[in-house]
């Protein structure tokens, strides 16, 4: 009797192991396929030009020349700093601005709130290209071309309807009791927003901040509209212009530019992934 149980257990375990192995195999294959282009980008960024011209896929020798040329010939450090200014501003301003406004819609009682909120949400329907040209005309009449203002100042005004929506949903899920208590202790409404509610919104704050990072880091459309001065370029524009439009850069330089653009988003995602995936899920469900 015991033998039979043992036998069954063992075969079950064996089956378990086979399934596990197959599962790992499948996952690894998928991961390889999905990451292959980016792996290749990294590898080709250190591949000598001669090997690329000879039609090699993977490098057999390594050179940092692509990166050297990227930074010496193409001013990427300037572009990086230009981008950084915009990115840092938006990463800080967007979560703060949208949580600030969302607080009004989630926690404060005032007449006309629902109506205003509906108006805010309705802007989601307006495609970017519709407002793009009039905005361009407006900003340039304010003398904002070749300044970071068009890419930063609008963030201060609410930080995007969808973010307000996310914050509002999230704040509604936070129990009122904490705030009531703070109110009793005489905390004013700004403190209730900043010191009580905001710390409880960390997952969504993080999600919005990373979203702000992603959108300002990768955006090349807006900068292309507002910058005519190549010194003011952001990274994405520079990569697009130098490598695509001019089209003369060597392969390793193009790939190095791609790696340089991708490395920061990848790192941020990597270190915050658990929280982010949660946030993305919140976004996916509620969004």
């Amino acid at each position: 009797m015991e033998n039979v149980m043992d036998e069954r257990n063992r075969s079950a375990r064996r089956r378990q192991i086979v399934i596990r192995t197959l599962q790992y195999l499948l996952l690894t294959v998928i991961a390889l396929i999905l990451c292959f282009p980016f792996l290749l980008m990294v590898l080709q960024s250190v591949m000598p030009e001669s090997q690329f011209q000879a039609g090699q896929i993977f490098p057999t020798a390594f050179t940092g020349l692509g990166y050297v040329k990227l930074f010496t010939e193409n001013n990427y450090l300037t572009y990086f700093l230009n981008t950084l200014v915009i990115v840092v501003f938006n990463v800080i301003a967007m979560p703060l601005a949208s949580s600030f406004c969302a607080y009004s819609f989630a926690r404060l009682q005032w007449k006309g709130k629902e109506l205003v909120f509906a108006c805010v949400l309705s802007t989601l329907m307006i495609p970017g290209v519709v407002t793009q040209i009039p905005l361009f005309l407006m900003f340039s009449s304010w003398g904002w071309t070749n300044t970071p203002w068009p890419l930063t100042v609008p963030t201060l005004f609410g930080g995007g309807a969808i973010n307000i929506f996310l914050f509002r949903q999230f704040m509604r899920g936070i129990p009122m009791e904490l705030e009531e208590a703070a109110k009793m202790d005489g905390a004013n409404v700004f403190r209730r927003w900043f010191s009580i509610t905001l710390p409880l919104c960390v997952p969504i704050l993080l999600f919005v901040a990373v979203g702000a990072f992603g959108s300002s880091w990768g955006d090349y459309f807006q900068p292309l509209f507002y910058y005519t001065d190549p010194e003011k370029y952001t990274l994405a524009v520079a990569v697009y212009k130098v490598t695509v439009l001019d089209g003369v850069a060597e392969n390793s330089v193009v790939m190095a530019a791609g790696v340089f653009m991708s490395i920061l988003p990848a790192l941020i995602f990597f270190f915050l992934q658990r929280k982010l995936i949660d946030g993305i899920m919140v976004g996916a469900v509620k969004g």
Binding site: E114, F117, C119, S141, G143, T228, E231
Partner: protein
């Protein structure tokens, strides 16, 4: 859910409510940041009062805008530095811009950061002038004044390019052309020699300035026979500087005097058949094939291009001949020659790049001095030193003259190809013929369509037919394209 329904209702309501006042607002496009600051240019009748000279030790700043491509930054810097020799206290501030020139200038003007002088080509010049009537600075009063005083002479310059700097190519002088910009054939001499050796045919003797399309065909057939590359020529056939002389030679007309499209004619068909024959005979890759002769990669034999000899040479040096020592006699590997022509009416496509000044400039006389500097020997030498562009001055046509920066280091090349038969006069007073042919059919239409019309004819007439589409089909499509385009 109620919320979302209300959201729609609100959006609709707002839209209709605000529609009213948005419509009453200013007419949208003419916002102009510097609109108020425009100064009317002194009318031509009053030239006596114009002061063209500027105190040599004036302290001032001139903002020079240029498109950020190739080595324009170095050219701008060189021009700025060489201007210092004349006006030591004048700072020429460089302001690079990017994108289509007319769009970029539009942006800069709207935002109130208009440069005093900017680099443009003649098409963008027309487009800018069409958009902002008083923005471009008419140099004619200054030129006339200085001609009277004997300080300037328009006859020093090739008439063709000078004209390309004028309003509608015949009027107010908005632009000082900076180079004699003409299509030439860049050809790979080393490969041609190789082909000669391979086929035993004489090829090189046909390739000379003033050669004809018949010579061109003979050469191409011989090169085909050598079987060294899939295609012979990168033709840029969709470029107006290439197709327009051919269409003009055959007598094709784009628009008639009423402004109606008149392209559908036997003459056009002949011109198209001529261009298509390059594809049929395998000289040129079909435009829609995504393939090319790849001249710049050392594969093709010829390239119809207007760029400077040094630019192409540098490309070939790095891409193709990187193994050869720097001391090589490069003229044995690569050279230029004039575009082939039809013997009975030779025409070669030209265009112009140059500098325009803005009426928003603080000191018009200083701006004029800067423009004059660009067109002077010093200015032309400064440009040639950086980019090897062909001087627009007739007295600088001799590139073997050591004082002429244009030819320094390139004496062994056939640089004459760029200016051959441009209406120059030699020392004995003999004037050579002028083969230059510029594109001006679009002047019958509002100038804002110049660039898009050129693109449209290039793609939907020339390339489309060369790709093997039926003539009637091509005409039908082209008609639709042009009609809708002119409705913008």
């Amino acid at each position: 859910m109620k919320l979302f329904k209300r959201m729609i209702a609100v959006a609709m309501g707002c839209a209709f409510a605000m529609c009213g006042f948005a419509g009453c607002g200013e007419s949208g496009e003419q916002g102009g940041g510097q609109g108020g600051g425009q100064r009317p240019v002194t009318p031509g009748g009053n030239t006596e009062s114009i002061v063209t000279e500027v105190d040599a030790d004036i302290t001032a700043t001139v903002v020079l805008g240029y498109k950020n491509e190739n080595n324009e930054d170095k050219i701008a810097k060189k021009l700025a530095d060489s201007f210092k020799a004349k006006f030591p206290n004048v700072t020429v501030q460089l302001a690079a811009f990017t994108g289509e020139t007319s769009t970029a200038i539009d942006k800069l003007y709207r935002s109130g950061s208009m440069p005093d002088v900017f680099l443009t080509n003649s098409f963008d010049m027309l487009a800018i002038n069409a958009q902002y009537e008083d923005l471009l600075f008419d140099l004619n009063p200054y030129i006339e004044q200085e001609e009277k005083e004997g300080k300037f002479d328009r006859n020093d310059y090739y008439a063709t390019w000078w004209k390309l700097g004028q309003e509608n190519f015949d009027g107010a002088q908005f632009m000082v052309p900076r180079a004699a910009d003409r299509v030439v054939v860049h050809y790979n001499k080393a490969k041609v020699k190789e082909a000669e050796a391979k086929t035993g045919l004489e090829i090189q003797k046909y390739i000379k300035n003033g050669w004809t399309w018949d010579d061109f065909n003979t050469v191409c057939d011989a090169l085909k026979q050598a079987n060294m590359s899939t295609y012979i020529v990168d033709s840029n056939m969709d470029w107006e500087a290439v197709y327009n002389p051919i269409l003009t030679y055959f007598g094709a007309e784009y628009f008639d005097d009423n402004g109606d499209l008149a392209i559908d004619s036997a003459e056009t068909k002949n011109a198209l058949d001529f261009i298509k024959s390059w594809v049929d005979k395998g000289y040129v890759a079909p435009p829609d094939s995504g393939r090319a002769a790849d001249f710049d990669y050392g594969k093709g034999f010829m390239h119809f291009q207007s760029r400077a000899l040094s630019t192409t040479l540098d490309i070939l040096k790095t891409r193709v001949y990187s193994d050869l020592p720097a001391t090589t006699d490069w003229s044995q590997y690569y050279d230029v020659v004039t575009m082939p022509v039809f013997a009975d009416n030779p025409l070669i496509g030209v265009g112009a790049a140059g500098y325009c000044a803005s009426t928003t400039a603080e000191n018009p006389a200083l701006v004029w001095q800067f423009m004059k500097h660009i067109a002077s020997r010093e200015g032309q030498n400064a440009i040639a030193e950086i980019a090897n562009y062909v001087p627009v001055r007739k007295d600088m046509a001799d590139y073997t003259d050591p004082a002429n920066q244009w030819g320094v280091g390139y004496e062994k090349f056939n640089l004459t190809a760029f200016t051959y038969n441009s209406g120059n006069t030699d020392e004995e007073g003999n004037t050579e013929p002028n083969w230059n042919c510029y594109t001006d059919y679009f002047l019958k239409k509002p100038a804002k369509h110049a660039v898009s019309l050129n693109d449209t004819f290039g793609i939907y007439l020339i390339e489309s037919y060369a790709n093997g589409r039926e003539y009637d089909q091509v005409m039908k499509t082209l008609n639709t394209r042009v009609t809708q385009l002119l409705r913008r």
